[in-house]
Symmetry: C2
Subunit: 208 residues, 2 copies
DNA sequence: TTTCATCTCCCGTAAAAAGGGGATTTTATC
DNA sequence: GATAAAATCCCCTTTTTACGGGAGATGAAA
C-alpha cells in the first residue's frame, strides 16, 4: 500500500480524493492538511511516501513548499495539484523537484497512476498537462529569474507606485529603484511597464 | 430532502461534494454532469431543486450557463462554485440570476447551509465571499464602462505599444490617443499604466 | 431639434520612465 | 580569501506619460 498525504485547503477536494481512492488496492490516504505550516509539522511524524500538494495554499505557494519539502523530506515524492494547466506553473513545479503534476479534473485512474508512478520514482503528467508542455516547448516563453528585491519592486510597480514612492517605501534611493526597473524590463524582454505587468501576471510572478 | 445536481468537470470535486453531503439529512445529490451541454439535457428530466455550477466549465462559462438555466428552468435555484473570490466573477454571477456563490474551500456546513438557503429562495454567500464583496462596496471598484475605442486603445497599451505607435496603428493623432489614455486612467481611478493594466486584467476587461 | 456620448484634435507644463553607460558595497558560496 | 551575484548608488539624455485645461464634428436617442 502506498501511503498518500494530501495538502489542500479545499475540503471538497480532500474529500473527493479520499472518496476516489477509497476502494483502491494500492493507495491509501494517511492524512491531510489544509495549509503548508501544519503539513510540514504533520509530515515529520508521517509514514507517507507520496504527497499531493495544491498549488494555491493559504500560507505559501506550492512551489516554495515543494522546495522546502525536498530539503526536509528528501525521500518524499511530490505531486503537484491544480486547476490550471499553465506552462509556467507546471514547469516551475517540476523544477522545484516535483515528481508530477495533476489537474483537478483528473480521473480516478489518472490519480492512481500518478501516485504509483511517483512512488516508483517516475515522473507523471496528466495527458492534458503533457500536451500543454509539448506546445510550450515549441514556444519557449522562459520565466525570468527575478531576485528577491526585483520581485519586491515589481509588486510595488504593479500597485501603481512611482519610482520615488517605491524608493521611500523601501528606504533606498530612487536611482536604485530605477536600476531594478531597468533590469526588470530587460529580464522580461519588454520595453515598457504595461507589457511587463501583463506578462508578469500571465506568468503568475505577481497576483491580483 | 432537497435534491441537488452538480455541474463540474472535476471528478475530485464532484466526489468531494458527494462525500461531504453523503450523510446529510436534508440534502441529497441526485445527479451530476461534467459539462454545460449534458447538464442542460439531464436537467430536463431531473427533479433537482438546486444546482451547483462550477464557474469554469469546458464548454461554457458559468455566467452564460446561469442565464440559460434561468430561462429554461425558472424554478431551479443556482449556486455558483469556484476557487476564486474575484469580485467581478461573483457580482456577474449574481447578476445572471444565481442564488449564491460558494468557494471550493467551503466546509460541509457552509455547503449545506447554502443549499438550504437557496432552496428557500434566500441568497447565500460564503463568509469569505461576503467579506470581499463588503470590501468591494466600501471601495467601489465598479467595472468601468469603456467605449469601443477605449477598449481598443487599452488593448494596444497592454501589448506594450506607445501612444505614437497606437496612433499610427489606428490612423489617428497621438493627441487623440493621449485623450483616450487620460480617460482610461480616470475611469479606472488609477494614476498610471501599471495599475491600470493590473486592474484591467483583474476585471477581465483584457485577457492575456 | 436638442441633448448627449463618443471620437476627434489641440495647448502647455511637469513628472516619470526608458536607455545608455558606470561604480561601489554587501552577501553568500566555494 | 577569492569569486560571483545581488543590491546599492551615480550621471546624462531622450522619450513617454500624466495632468490641467479646452473645443469641434458626428451620430444616435430623446
Amino acid at each position: 500500500m502506498i501511503e498518500v498525504f494530501i495538502i489542500d485547503d479545499h475540503p471538497m477536494v480532500v474529500a473527493g480524493i479520499q472518496a476516489l481512492l477509497n476502494h483502491s488496492e494500492v493507495v491509501r490516504i494517511c492524512g491531510a492538511a489544509h495549509d503548508a505550516g501544519t503539513a510540514l509539522e504533520m509530515l515529520g511524524t508521517s509514514t507517507a511516501q507520496v504527497v499531493l500538494v495544491d498549488i494555491n495554499l493559504p500560507d505559501m505557494n506550492g512551489i516554495d513548499l515543494c522546495v522546502l519539502m525536498r530539503k526536509e523530506f528528501p525521500k518524499l515524492k511530490i505531486l503537484g495539484l491544480s486547476t490550471f494547466k499553465e506552462r509556467s506553473y507546471i514547469t516551475r513545479m517540476m523544477e522545484a523537484g516535483a515528481s508530477g503534476y495533476l489537474l483537478k479534473n483528473a480521473s480516478k485512474e489518472e490519480l492512481e497512476d500518478a501516485v504509483v508512478a511517483a512512488n516508483k520514482g517516475r515522473a507523471y503528467l496528466s495527458m492534458e498537462v503533457a500536451a500543454t508542455l509539448a506546445v510550450a516547448q515549441s514556444v519557449p516563453s522562459a520565466i525570468p529569474m527575478l531576485t528577491a528585491r526585483e520581485k519586491e519592486v515589481l509588486h510595488l510597480i504593479a500597485e501603481g507606485l512611482t519610482n520615488q514612492e517605491i524608493a521611500d517605501k523601501l528606504f533606498i534611493s530612487i536611482l536604485t529603484v530605477d536600476s531594478h526597473r531597468k533590469n526588470l524590463l530587460a529580464k522580461f524582454g519588454v520595453k515598457n511597464t504595461a507589457a511587463m505587468i501583463k506578462t508578469a501576471l500571465e506568468l503568475r510572478l505577481i497576483a491580483f
